[in-house]
């Protein structure tokens, strides 16, 4: 089975994890027009290439980020959400 390295629990079988899809920018509800909400809700990153995604290690309910290649399926790195550049 494919192995994913959880930043907290170390290398585990991929079926212990759940994907929550590509990271989306947060919107300001006060400033957001309908068209931008639509984009935010329905247009997830799907380009052939590397995406940053939310993942959860299910048994420990720990959420983290992973960089993965959508074509080769290589997991390039996994890291705690606090290490996301440009984000608090």
């Amino acid at each position: 089975m494919k192995i994913m390295t959880c930043p907290m629990n170390g290398p585990r079988n991929i079926d212990e994890f759940q994907s929550f899809g590509p990271v989306r920018d947060e919107l300001d509800p006060e400033q957001t027009a309908d068209a931008d909400w639509s984009r935010h809700l329905f247009r997830a990153e799907n380009r052939k290439g590397v995406v940053v995604e939310w993942w959860r290690h299910v048994p420990s309910n720990y959420f983290f980020l992973a960089e993965r290649d959508l074509v080769s399926n290589e997991i390039i790195r996994t890291f705690d959400a606090s290490q996301r550049s440009g984000q608090s």
Binding site: K48, R68, L70
Partner: protein, 413 residues
């Protein structure tokens, strides 16, 4: 060897017919360029040529004819969806399959033997009632059946698996069936070619030339083609190809996996699927048991398979029919599915004037091959989207008028 047979074999008049001509040279322009030589693109080409007299058509296929999801699907044909718009559309699709062999003069082996979807919980049964009522209202044959009726329909089913996943009833869809997927594509290709449509295999679209709101030309590995109208029908690559034209579709790609067993003597008359087990089975006319269809749990552009998914499908199959436990798998595979947020397709206009979409077919588009081709041809020929397609417009995501078919696509495709 009997002399007569030899004479016949060597005769110049030996009746060899070439159904699909070899790829010709590309012309500098066509009235309609169809990107994707899968069932949908070929069906559209056939309808354009036969019903609208449009024969300056090139179907561009990057690989071999219908080698995408048309070749990989498990051939479930049905109309037992949830939304009235969905049911009306798929109902027309099933009706077209009923006469497709005559339409194409090619046996597509349509076998309308009914589909049984199993409920293992009260919640599932309740949702079946809603689907059955909507289906009946719109004139399809869909009804909820009890345990006894399930047993009569499929006597070999394991009804009680230790209590937890006991079968409580089912959704019986007498209109459901299967057809031979390759034959559908080949039949459309042969008919379209006979009327002058050109099918260009190993011709990959790599970009678009756009001026203002129009596509001027498509760029391919074999050169540039100017075009009047363009249709995108590239299956798992729909997001990728539309993006080349600057159109970002609400699509995410996931592999979908399936497999078949060695041939067994005919025992399963109907299509059987289970909502809770995420597994469905159908016995092909060769006796093989086709088992589908598991979506991978994360996005990926790959047709690789995984042992975990195959194990999951095998577990569901053995759960329903324990005697399958010793049976061997013959083949297994995956296709890339273009999944929309509401599990309904995207058909109709794009932000560009002459670029049309037949996309977002995900895990459910084989059954729509005839109807999508027919209706997209009508759209391209007239420049107007027919009423039956309007609910499937790309704009529905901007106006929040989604057509949620999740509950009708999760268990079977």
């Amino acid at each position: 060897m009997p002399l007569g047979l030899l004479k016949y074999g060597l005769s110049r008049d030996y009746p060899v017919s070439e159904d699909i001509p070899a790829t010709p040279a590309l012309k500098p322009s066509y009235d309609v360029v169809i990107i994707g030589g899968g069932g949908h693109g070929l069906s559209c080409a056939h309808h354009l040529a036969k019903y609208h007299g449009i024969t300056s058509v090139a179907v561009l296929e990057k690989g071999y004819l219908a080698g995408g999801n048309t070749a990989r699907n498990t051939t479930t044909i049905r109309s037992n969806y949830i939304t009235p718009q969905g049911i009306a559309f798929y109902k027309e699709g099933v009706a077209l399959f009923e006469t497709l062999s005559q339409e194409l003069d090619f046996n597509v082996m349509f076998s309308q033997r009914g589909q049984l979807t199993l409920a293992h919980s009260e919640a599932t049964l309740r949702s079946f009632h809603a689907r059955a009522e909507m289906g009946k209202h719109l004139g399809t044959r869909t009804e909820v059946v009890d345990q006894k009726a399930v047993q009569e329909l499929v006597p070999s089913l394991n009804m009680d698996y230790g209590g937890a996943l006991e079968i409580l009833g089912g959704l019986w869809h007498a209109d459901g069936g299967t057809a031979r997927h390759d034959a559908v594509a080949w039949g459309y290709a042969a008919q379209a070619s006979r009327r002058g449509v050109e099918i260009h295999q190993r011709t990959e679209v790599q970009g678009f030339e756009i001026a203002g709101d129009r596509v001027q030309a498509v760029k391919t590995n074999r050169g540039r083609i100017a075009c009047g109208q363009v249709l995108i029908a590239t299956g798992g690559m729909n997001y990728d190809v539309a993006l080349m034209a600057g159109v970002e579709l609400p699509i995410r790609c996931y592999p979908l996996q399936a497999m078949v067993t060695q041939p067994l003597k005919p025992w399963l008359n109907t299509l059987v699927s289970s909502v809770s087990l995420h597994t469905y089975l159908v016995q092909s006319s060769r006796g093989e048991v086709v088992i589908g269809g598991g979506s991978d749990p994360y996005q990926l552009y790959s047709t690789r398979s995984t042992l975990d998914m195959k194990e999951h499908l095998a577990e569901g199959a053995v759960h329903l029919f324990p005697f399958l436990q010793g049976v061997r798998l013959l083949r297994q595979w995956a296709g890339i599915t273009d999944m929309t947020p509401d599990n309904s397709p995207i058909m109709g206009a794009s932000p560009l004037d002459n670029l049309w979409l037949d996309c977002g077919w995900g895990t459910w588009g084989f059954k729509a091959t005839p109807v999508a081709g027919k209706r997209m041809a009508e759209t391209i020929a007239s420049g107007r989207v027919p009423d039956i397609l309007k609910p499937f417009a790309l704009e529905r995501f901007e106006t929040f008028q989604l057509l949620n078919e999740m509950g009708a696509t999760a268990a079977s495709h």
